[in-house]
Amino acid sequence: MSMPSPATNELDLRGTAPAPVFDPAKALVAQATRGYWRTVLARLLRDKVTVACALLLLAIVLLAVFAPLLAPADPFKGSIMQRLLPIGSEGFLLGTDELGRDMLTRLIYGGRLSLVMGITPVINALLIGAFLGIVGGFMGGTVNTLIMRTIDVFYAFPSVLLAVAISGALGAGIFNAMVALTVVFIPPVARVAESVTTQVMSLDFVEAARASGASNFTIIRVHILGNVLGPVFIYATSLISVSMILASGLSFLGLGTKPPEPEWGLMLNTLRTAIYLNPGVAALPGAMIFMVSICFNMMSDGLRAAMDVTQ
């Protein structure tokens, strides 16, 4: 049905996964099963790795949400006298940072900003990108070409470069960083959405719907959306880990969060010089990013496997 396109077009930003190919005989068939989602849930629950990751993530999220209740200290208060205490010190379970603030508290609070900065751009990109892609795929012709070519221009930049460039141009700050990341993620989502929509459009039931005299809006609502959003959503989940790493990366460069806000990327930045004095503490924030990122990736893979009901 569709011609093989160069892999460049099918890989996402870090090539973590190829874009979904819409195979009506496989992908959607199962989606329509009554109790499909129950089946997916059952399969997910049987996948031990995914469950473990989900639980771990849940713990981190809960910690972040209830930080004021759970954290032992104030994330902003610290005494220079107690700077860079090692892990396991008296009263400071994970040591202190370069300004004497409790690391455990900073890490827990840091989760808030890091998670929000990572997930929000993906959600925004999903909404905007899916809209653009579906509209383009549905309208076809010049409208589609116009939308996709504009998107291609942004796709022509390597993602890190684009994020840094936009963020750098707008100036440091959480909001600007999130805007930059949203712009970076819209093109891949839009491409996937357009590709899937185009493949759905070529199927007979869309023609049959048109033959029934339905309006474009109705056709999209009843026939297209349900079949397209699934694959696009799965694709978007695979972007979350990249987003988190980039968001923290921006803060690491000084382009995202500004001190003294606790955020993992920023903490890595300010603790860089401390690696000679207290390498353990200096490495902690990055370990958090790593943990969350790997959990999201595992879950995304697990979700994909659970939804692929060919087994």
Binding site: P4, A7, T8, L11, P18, L161, L170, A282, F290
Partner: protein, 315 residues
Amino acid sequence: MFFYLLKRLALVIPIALSVTVVCFSLVYIAPGDPLSTILPSDASIELIATLKKEYGLDKPIPVQYAMWLSRAVQGDLGTSIATGRPVNAELGRAIFNTLILALFGSLIGFSLGLAFGTIAGYRQGTWIDKSVTALAVTGVSVPHYWLGMVLVIVFSVYYNVLPAMGAGPSGDWMWDAEHLKYVVLPAITISVIPTAIVTRTVRALVADILGREFVTALRARGLTDRGVFWHVVKNAAPTSLAVMGVQLGYLMGGSILVETVFSWPGSGFLLNTAIFQRDIPLLQGTILALALFFVGLNLIVDLVQTALDPRIRRA
């Protein structure tokens, strides 16, 4: 084939032009006056006006763009506001350093990736496959700037065998033994992601090809394992090369994080400097060079892939 080449070239031009527009306009979405970094806050109006004229900032934006573009095409990217030196010179050196880093990184990344991916593809489902896949997922999930820090901690702080930063005693990289140890840690750091991605891609390709019917048919006709391997290579080559090409592009364009960790004097580091000093010409020039490099690389990748994969050529 020739016409396909022309067609692709023709398609690239509007994209390249649009990229230049984006590069140029990035600076103008920035809040604040472009000159604010070099002007004292109590600068007189005449001084501001003179400087504006000197930098051409008093003309309308499309005109500025045209002027900038025409100069850029001739190789003149302007003068750095911060250092006063021409942007080309700074950029040229920096790009060379990043190229070195990218080449070493891809060397490690691609060879490891091809090896791991092929082994995993051949041994699909076994513990080898599972460990390789787990490693690949890890590689893709790890924040590489953090990994760089960890490597520095282990090899520079604890064991003091490798330098923690810089490209060498002379500042830039040079091809001699002295400089070799400076590139080890950065190259390993930057190679992690390409390794992981190439591994995943190659593994999927090899597993898919081995499972295809034509392989069974070949084996049934008595083809040896080596012969089958050659077929696997032929079929996996186009996509693998495409992926590797794109990864090289990402290495060049996205090196800023690793270069910051290691203070590697490459284009990414330069970009960082330019941003914080709000050095407009340098910023524009660097982004432009890196973006266009990526566009050019994508084009080459597309063409190579088409040349190797007859199915796409038909299209």
